[in-house]
Symmetry: none
Subunit: 401 residues, 2 copies
């Protein structure tokens, strides 16, 4: 059975609010509550009392996903099949538009000896502004190698992105970064026959860059890793026959959804502006992805109170979103980021689906990991969410007779 | 691991009561209760308080199954692997015994112009009695084409079933029904090399039928779709080493279980008669499938109160069934048919398993979707039910040492 063969488009609207890193675990210093349990969230709790609840596993039991795999899975793409490589994520993160002809890699400026032995893998963490000038100098001198366009984009501090654009390029190339100081820069090796040409181009680029940078006091070397092409995915709007809008302030999420074929208008850099943009474009789309970043940031910082605070802030937007009257409204995370852990984790995401056809709800429920774990939807794989949303929005025909 | 290699037959009895379309969702006009919640079911509730509860997903999250896939899954056959085509279901539905040599198709009488342009795809919905006579006329004139036996059976109104019986027939043939009026009847095309002969036979049949019908005022054309053979399944009694009985009043369920190798005696056309037949044959079988249709019918009609009523009626039969002392007694649905939706849905089925070895039960539980969603068995795939039932009936050896 191909899901697509069962899809019948209609005009109902699906609103997917992803609070990044939303889920937490009990924190011993805060009465063994999770951030969601500690937060005062009257709007989310009221919604939860009328919604079907559950938990979602982003990739597999025990697996802590990065943002890339976690989001792919939410959108119904198997993250174990479609990998979004480091270089691509880095390019998306600085707002670069990747094409199918591109190979991207993460770059670091480094301090090296004349024999290319690495003294400092981060070139003394040179300031962003200084690094930007060095990137510009490199770009000025190197625009093309053997017919391949060379594109360089500055990142923060010692970081930059290298993009090779051309035909017949491959990302099956080993890193030039040996990951340890005191070792020499490695030559890029082709990891498959098709990658030989690309590896040659990268080698020439490294040689020319080191020549150009030879008089830099700190940034006289470069390290490259995570060569990657964009995965060959069926665009989301075709896969599900949905006009799809992505409202995200952060470049990485915007870039990721652009890769998937979402429309990704500039939505400003605060959640208030995101919601304004959402209202403006509401009527033109069937599926709207709305991203809230602050929960993840607070979790990553290990800041329980901050995470509680930003959850409470998110809560205040719920009535406005409900006023848009989506037929299916989902509140969930991409992955959990418990402040006790101070990073992404493998814990499943709390999941709330508000829809006339969502199923059984519990009038006593609140929007917490605990109540979600007892919910009617059970613990499901994130990748199974999209078929449920299509079904609840009335878009799936019967399978078989 | 092959399940079959672990099976050790014994004499314990498994009674599977399938209340078709049993599951529901909260209905806003009835205090947000489901039909099971609204129904007064003292016997089922008493049973639930001593049973292991859970939910089953017939095919996959979000997928609304037809009765064919839903039942295959209940009996442990992957419905995505074994498809029961439209033509076969239609033949089963009118009580026709399909053999492995048969290809069946759904037929419609249609009104056409001399150039075969379709004016009315349903020939004015001619009355069943009139249609039956036309089928008889066709059958009288066409008994065989190129060594293939032609069998025609009337259905309701403009519908009939065509069965080709012969060797080397294939069901890989395109529909002759273009699905829209104003278009011409299509020629049947072979969709694979092996289907060329069958497509020729079908084409000759269509030509001869149109010639015979040329003076009919309305039913002067025929449309064929859903060519299908019976899937090549291991019979249920061999697969599980169970003497299997099917008690179903409706032809389709009887036909489907006959395909699977169940004994399918005539059980009358009411549930009362079904239960009488069950008692009569109880001692001769290990596994008894008992089908209750009324829940699905009421759900399909969108009639909440009727569905409540027929659930209450079903409840009154529970003591009689328990009196037979099955070692494992299951009450569940094949798929859900919420009256709020008025059709099959993707919502999981409530599942009750009463057995000394079923596992943990909750003395406060009632037989509702809600309590099933919190049950010890969790939410499982319907296809995993059979191994559980074999285990609970003491038929499965240890796997490995």
């Amino acid at each position: 059975m191909e899901l697509k063969s069962l899809i019948e488009p209609n005009n109902s609207k699906i609103l997917l609010l992803v609070a990044d890193g939303l889920g937490g675990i009990p924190h011993p210093e805060y009465g063994y509550k999770t951030e969601l349990e500690a937060a005062r969230t009257p709007n989310l709790d009221n919604l939860a009392s009328k919604s079907a609840l559950g938990l979602t596993i982003p990739v597999a039991q025990g697996i802590t996903p990065g943002s890339g795999p976690a989001h792919l899975s939410l959108f119904g793409y198997d993250p174990q099949k479609y990998e979004i490589g480091r270089g691509v994520l880095e390019a998306l993160g600085i707002g670069f538009h990747m094409t199918k002809r591109d190979v991207a890699a993460r770059g670091n400026f480094a301090t090296i000896q004349p024999d290319r032995t690495i003294i400092d893998r981060r070139a003394g963490r040179i300031p962003t502004e200084e690094s930007r000038k060095i990137v510009e100098k490199l770009q000025e001198h190197i625009k093309e190698i053997d017919g391949v366009e060379i594109i360089l984009k500055p990142g923060k501090e010692h970081r930059f992105v290298l993009v090779l654009r051309g035909d017949n390029l491959s990302d099956k190339i080993s890193d030039t970064d040996p990951q340890h100081e005191g070792l020499k820069i490695l030559d890029p090796s082709p990891l498959s026959k098709e990658a030989e040409f690309t590896a040659q181009v990268v080698k020439k680029f490294v040689d020319r860059a080191i020549e150009i940078l030879k008089d830099e006091p700190k940034a006289n070397g470069i390290l490259l890793r995570g060569f990657a092409k964009v995965p060959d995915l069926e665009p989301f709007p075709e896969k599900y026959r949905l006009r799809a809008l992505s409202i995200a302030a952060y470049p990485m999420y915007k870039g990721l959804t652009r890769l998937l074929g979402f429309d990704t208008p500039d939505a400003g850099d605060t959640f208030e502006l995101e919601v304004e943009k959402l209202k403006e474009l509401w009527h033109d789309y069937d599926f709207i992805y709305l991203h809230y970043k602050d929960t993840d940031k607070a979790g990553e910082d290990g800041d329980f109170e901050k995470k509680v605070h930003v959850i409470e802030k998110l809560d205040t937007f719920i009535p406005e979103l409900l006023n848009l009257k989506p037929e299916v409204f989902i509140v969930t995370g991409d992955h959990s980021t418990p402040s006790l852990i101070g990073g992404h984790s493998w814990h499943p995401n709390p999941l709330l689906i508000y829809s006339e056809k969502a199923g059984i709800f519990n009038a006593d429920a609140k929007f917490t990991e605990r109540d979600c774990s007892r919910g009617y939807l059970g613990t499901i794989n994130s990748i199974d969410l999209m078929p449920l949303l299509l079904a609840m929005s009335g878009r799936l025909k019967k399978f078989g007779a």
